[in-house]
Structure formats: C-alpha cells, structure tokens
C-alpha cells in the first residue's frame, strides 16, 4: 500500500508572527520555517503504518518554490521513501492544492492520502475535504486514531460531542488531529541518508491545474491590543463598573 502525505512548509509555531508595516502580509524574511505540525503528525502516522507492515511506501508531497527542497529533505530524514515537489512561486489556495493532489493521486494511485487537518498559517481546514470530493472517495477528518484492515480504515474522529468512530473504504482521505501521535525526532544519520533519497520535481504548469484565485486577501492586521484593565476593590465596585458599561 502506498500512502501520499501532504507536507506543507509554514512559519514555525514558535515564531512571533509580525504583520508587514504596509499590511500586505506577514513577515517571512529571516523567519524560521518548518513543517506544519499537523503534517508532521500525518507523516508520523504513515511511517507507523509502514513499520507495522500495512503500508509499503510513504511519499511526501510539497507545493512551493524551488527552495522547498530542503524542507522535503526533512520529511525524507524522518523516514519517507521519496518526495514529490510541485514547483510554483505563487501562494497556493486550498482548492488549487486539492486539485494538485488529485493529479498526483491519479498518477501514483495511493490507497491512502493523509493530510494535516489544517495548516497553521492560513488555518483553512479545506484541502482534505476538497480532495475527497474531487476524487469522489470517502473522507475521515480530525483523526485521533487510525486502524487499517481488510481494505477499510477505522478512524476515531475528534468531534464536538467527543469521539466518533467511522469506517471508510479505501482508497480514502484522512486528515490528522493533534492527538493522533507524537512525531519522532529526526536522527543525524537519517539526515545523511535522506540526501540520497529521490525527490521528483514537477512544474506546477505541467499539471494542467487551473490556479483560480477564488479568495482575495485585502489586508493583514495584527489583533488590536487589549486595553489596560481596571482593578476593582470589591464585588460592589465590580457590579457598579459593569452596570456603568451597560453589561448588567
């Protein structure tokens, strides 16, 4: 069984995000970029399935500029067999990403596609669902447990009411939630081994995917600063203050 894993590069979660002074975006120069944490979880799960003997090959997929190669090497160092790099200098919206994945699915014929439930940059939470619809295959989103047997995935989903267990016939799309697993540490010798693993490079233009810009970003702004609080002496003063603000 072949597993395709989405492996997006985002601004690292430890970075304090700064909006560019002109509001055209967030600062990415000199900023640490790393794998979307949910994608790391997706890759970890795929590797565990391979280690259990369920899967035979794990392929990481990245869509982005030429320098994305170094990022994909991290995925290979973690353990993926090979990588596919779809090269484009433009920002990719969820529908475009889903269409790219569909093309790769047609080419690679995987039985499972594991994606992060969302990327921590735009928090769209759409690509997995869109891919399932375009591919016309089942989807199991927000997975916190995955079991594969008899051509079916039994997936525990994190939903508002608690946990929901569903069965999805393979091939299928699964998106990962935070509690699915804890990704492994990369080992130094594996970084060296990753250098000789193959990365297929595909020009975005050659995929015949229309890059519709359905969404237009007009302005980025930092959250407004919280105004200074007021200390109250006792409950009576608190009630009076709330009344004055018309909240009581």
């Amino acid at each position: 069984m072949k597993i395709l894993v989405g492996y997006k590069r985002v601004v690292d979660y430890n970075v304090r995000i700064q909006v560019k002074p002109d509001g055209s975006g967030v600062v990415t120069d000199g900023v640490k970029l790393s794998a979307n944490p949910f994608d790391d979880i997706a890759l970890e799960e795929a590797l565990r399935l391979r280690e259990k003997g369920v899967a035979t090959e794990v392929i990481v997929v990245g869509i982005g500029p030429a320098d994305l190669t170094a990022h994909l090497r991290n995925g290979l160092a973690m353990g993926a067999n090979r990588a596919i790099h779809v090269v484009t200098a433009d920002a990719v919206q969820p529908l475009t990403a889903a269409r790219v994945f569909l093309k790769l699915v047609e080419k690679e014929q995987p039985e499972l596609v594991i994606l992060g439930k969302q990327a921590i940059d735009d928090d769209a939470n759409q690509t997995g669902q869109m891919l399932a619809a375009l591919w016309d295959r089942p989807q199991a989103t927000f997975a916190s447990k995955i079991e594969i047997a008899d051509g079916k995935a039994t997936v525990t989903r994190e939903v508002d009411a608690g946990l929901e267990v569903i069965e999805a016939e393979l091939p299928a799309v699964i998106t990962t939630d935070l509690r699915l697993n804890e990704p492994r540490f990369i080992k130094l010798p594996d970084i060296m081994k990753a250098k000789s693993k193959p990365i297929d490079t595909i020009e975005f233009g050659s995929l015949d995917v229309a890059a519709h810009d359905h969404l237009k970003t007009t302005q980025y702004a930092a959250p407004t600063k919280r105004s200074k609080g007021v200390m109250v002496k006792d409950a009576a003063e608190l009630v009076a203050a709330l009344k004055q603000k018309g909240l009581l």
């Binding site: 970075v15 304090r16 120069d29 000199g30 640490k32 804890e182 990369i186 970084i191």
Partner: protein, 538 residues
C-alpha cells in the same frame, strides 16, 4: 563498549557562528576532500546568536571575495559615529575614540549573517546540522579528544525515557573544533581537563542585552552608530550602550554590563531598561514596537586571559577561545580570522591540532588583542581612571611594559553590606517591556517543560543557607530571563521554607549564571537540541 550509533568525519565543528562557519568554509576551499560537519544547538542557524553588530569587512573579503555583490539580508554601511557620556538627565557628545571609528564597516544582524553563511558552507559540501546539541566530548584511549556526543532527545524531567526517546549519536572526528561562543559548555570542560588556562589569567565576561525595534517612519538615519557610557552605570560598574540605525525604520539597541561588577544588588536587565528611558534615547523609541529581544554573555578577558587554544585532537576558535576586542566592541572579525587560521593550520599539518596555538599567537589576531590588553582591566579602578588609562594605552598603541591582571568574575561580588550600595536613583520606566518575563516573550524561547533542567545547581542548600544572607541570591537579579526565583513554601506541618526554583524554560542561553554565581555551583548544560531562544535578526 556502548552500542551508540556513530558517524565519522575528518572534522567536527561545534557551533554555527561566524567562527565555526568561516572555519568550515575555509577548510573546504583549501581541501574539498576533507569531510566536515557543523553541529548547532539552535533549531535553525542564527536563532541563538546575538551581537550588536558592527563588523569589519576585511576578513569576509578574504574568505568570500565577492560577498558584497550578495550581502547578508541586513547589511547597512556604517555612517556617522557618535560617542556620548550620559548623566541621569542629560548627555554630552564626546570625540569618538580612535578605535571606535566605523567608516568602511557594516551594521549587520549576526543571526541573519550566519543564516546567510550556512548555505554557502553547504554549497561547498559542509554538513550543517541545526537542532542538535553537542552535549559532551568523547575521548580516545590516549586521552585525546575523539569527537562529540549529541544529547539524547525525549528524556523526561525525572530522567526516564519518553515514548519518542532517541539516543544521541557520537560524532567521531580526527579534529574537534570548538566554536561555541563565549563560555562554551564543552570548552569549559576541556579547559579544565587539559589545564588550558594554566598560564593565563581567568577569563572575563560582560553581559549584553539587546532589542530590535520597529520605529514610526522617518526617525531612523540608516548607518548611524551611537555608543554611550555613564548613566545608568555608577562609576565602579563597567557599562555602556549601543544604538545602531538599520534600514526599514529599524534600530538595534542594547546595553552591556561588565560581569566584574561588585554590587550584589545590580541588575543588568534593569540597567538596560533604564538607559532606554534616558531623555536622549526615549524620544526615538516612543511609539515603536519591539521585534525581537535577547541576551548573551560576551568574552572580554582578551590577551592576558586567552587560554591555550589547542589540545590533542581539538582547537578553540572565536569567542569560546576569547578573541573579542573590547575597546573596539567587536569580535566577529576576530572570529572569522581565527576560523580561517585554524583551517589553514589543519590543512598544512595533516589535521594535527599541534602548533595552532603558536600560529594564532603569532598572528595579527593576537597582535590586535595585545595592543588593547590594558584598557578594560583598568576600569576596575573606576570610570575616570579607566578613561585616562584607555587614552594612554590607545595613544601609545599598548606599548606599556606592564600587563594588568584579570580576576574571575564570580569572585568580584561583594557580600551584602560590605560596600556602600551605589545610589541607583532609577527613573520610573514607561517603555516596554514592563519586566523580564515580558521581555523574554520577544526572545521566543522554547524548551519542552518535560526535560531535565539544563541549569545544574550542585548544592541548592548553599542558595538558602548561605547565599541568601551573604549575597541575597544575586542569581534572581543577574539573570536577564527571570530563570532563578526564591519561593516560599508552606509545608504540611505549617512551617515555612524557602527554596530555589529554576524556571529553565525561560532560559535564553546567555551563560551569565554559569559565570557570575559567587559559589561557582551553577553549571549550564545543553538542553534538548533545538530548545532555547528563537531570535529573529539579532
């Protein structure tokens, strides 16, 4: 024999700063077939380096001719120099000392510069590994250094192994090059083991605390370089500020305090914030925002404190050796030069470290330190004596027949009440950050809370039984990140007790505690690789 995984290289370098990267680049330029890797504890190159920084470009010209066509991301040609003496309410502009003229130099972010150097090293075939901490040195049977051991990942606070536990590997090499920066944790062990400081004075340090600000448009004069001394330091504390105007309405600013200060109540972080609120500085910053902040120890012992820089199987280069030029307030050019010298030496001598120390001492790196050797130590006798002496030493080019002694910084602290406490007379501050915790936020420091505390205190009873009364627990004040706290506990039987609490997750890896603690019981160890501050453009 352990069954640890091992990787072998001809040369392993600890630390991807200007010294380590320049060394690796030079080595590959001279002998491409030599295999070399660079280990860096920061999660990404440049994330844990902090400097002013105004650099002299000549060593870069020698290392990477043509770099000016492809400069690092922040690289502003030096413009006008200013030198100020501050009192609490005003300041006087003084003539700029000869060593501090910066015409022809560049203001850079050293972090961004290292992130720019690393891919150039990789292009030459150097393996650069960020996110891995060299936790220990390993030795051959004959006692020579055999390489480094990478720290284990996934160890819980109590020492047990978490599910993701990954044993660190050994990197074996013919030569280990220590380029850890000031007070390197492996260098410290090696100096002790090989008695490298037997013929030198104790090393001296300062602490530099820095912020990067984004200002409202129009205030910045790109290239302008302003240094000051005087307030808020008293005349017996070595302290001074830097303020460098960058491009895109940004300024880099910081305050350096000599760690040879004697007042146990001195707080380097507070001194920095006080200086920011000085009337000559505050109007520039008002209305701006902080982009990034951090702190780092600076090596200042110079010529007379330089340990032997070679031992069997290993070398020291850059600030971990102690090559910074204090009066110039620069070390990057020395770091690059020493890295290049080390590479040239190893290539010429079949990767044998022997003879490097003599080569370094015979080079212009050492000549530069010799000229200024008496300037910093004289400030121990007070600001005015220090200034007069600095003028004499500068005018004569350091020909004085004497060499002033350095003392260890941990020994300079007076006990509580042993001296009249300097009147600090600090002002009410209005500029951000409010306190050290608010400041640490801008360092984006991150340590997995469930890992062993990497600040090892040999005997915490000393903190409570002895230090509280003798020095008043200065660790709670010299740490710029509020790592050390004395907390009161109420025990089950109702009795009260005090204990040292170490907030290791706040640590910005500046090493001040390892240097200044008066009982020498704090040891800074490497935390899990990738932990620590994530500086942006410092």
């Amino acid at each position: 024999m352990s069954d640890r995984e091992t990787m072998e290289y001809d040369v392993v370098v600890v630390g991807a700063g200007p010294a380590g990267l320049s060394f690796a680049i030079r080595l590959k330029q001279l002998k491409p077939e030599v295999s070399v890797c660079v280990i860096e504890k920061a999660s990404t190159i440049g994330a844990q380096i902090l400097s002013g920084a105004v650099i002299e470009p000549q060593p870069l010209d020698a290392l990477l001719p043509g770099w000016r066509d492809n400069p690092p991301p922040i690289c502003v040609p030096a413009g006008e120099d200013e030198f100020w003496l501050l009192s609490k309410t005003s300041g006087r502009k003084l003539p700029v000392p000869p060593g501090m003229h910066n015409h022809g130099n560049f203001i850079v972010s050293l972090g961004a510069m290292c992130a720019w150097l690393a891919p150039q090293a990789e292009a030459l075939g150097v393996d650069v590994f960020p996110g891995f901490a060299a936790a220990d040195t390993i030795y051959n049977e004959d006692g020579s250094v055999a390489g480094v051991r990478i720290g284990d990942m996934g160890v819980a606070k109590d020492g047990t192994h978490k599910p993701g536990y990954t044993e660190g590997i050994d990197i074996k090499a013919k030569v280990t090059v220590l380029a850890e920066g000031a007070r390197g944790s492996l260098t410290k062990q090696l100096i002790k083991r090989f008695k490298l400081d037997a013929d030198s004075d104790p090393q001296g340090y300062s602490i530099g605390i820095k912020e990067l600000w984004q200002l409202p448009p129009g205030r910045v004069t790109p290239g302008k370089i302003v240094h000051s001394f005087g307030w808020p330091a008293d005349t017996h504390t070595y302290g001074g500020s830097f303020l460098y105007h960058l491009d895109q309405d940004r300024v880099a600013l910081g305050y350096v305090s000599g760690l040879d200060y004697s007042d146990p109540n001195y707080q380097p972080w507070e001194a920095f914030q006080q200086w920011k609120n000085h009337p000559t500085v505050k109007p520039l910053l008002d209305g701006g925002t902080i982009l990034s902040a951090g702190a780092r120890a600076i090596v200042t012992g110079g010529y007379q404190s330089l340990p032997k820089t070679e031992m069997p199987g290993a070398l020291l280069i850059g600030d971990t050796a102690g090559l910074l030029n204090v009066p110039k307030v620069k070390g990057t050019h020395q770091a690059i030069k020493s890295g290049m010298l080390a590479a040239e030496h190893l290539v010429a001598h079949g990767l044998d470290s022997a003879g490097f120390d003599a080569k370094l001492r015979g080079s212009d790196v050492m000549a530069e330190l010799r000229k200024v050797r008496n300037i910093k130590p004289a400030f121990k006798k007070g600001l005015w004596f220090g200034m007069l002496n600095a003028a004499w030493e500068t005018v004569t080019g350091g020909i004085s027949p004497w060499t002033l002694k350095n003392k260890a910084d941990w020994s300079s602290l007076h006990k509580l009440g042993a001296q009249e406490e300097p009147k600090r007379d600090y002002v009410q501050r209005t500029l951000a950050p409010r306190d050290r915790l608010a400041g640490v936020y801008f360092a984006a420091t991150e340590h997995d809370e469930d890992q062993p505390i990497h600040l090892h205190v040999a005997d915490t009873r000393i903190c409570i039984d002895q230090c509280t009364t003798e020095y008043g627990n200065p660790c709670t004040r010299f740490c710029p990140a509020n790592v050390y706290e004395i907390v009161e506990d109420v025990h089950a039987d109702g009795s009260k007790g005090r204990r040292l609490q170490i907030n290791a997750a706040n640590c910005v890896h500046c090493k001040t505690c390892d240097i200044k603690d008066p009982y020498e019981i704090i040891t800074w160890l490497t935390p899990e690789g990738g932990s620590g501050p994530n500086y942006q453009n410092l």
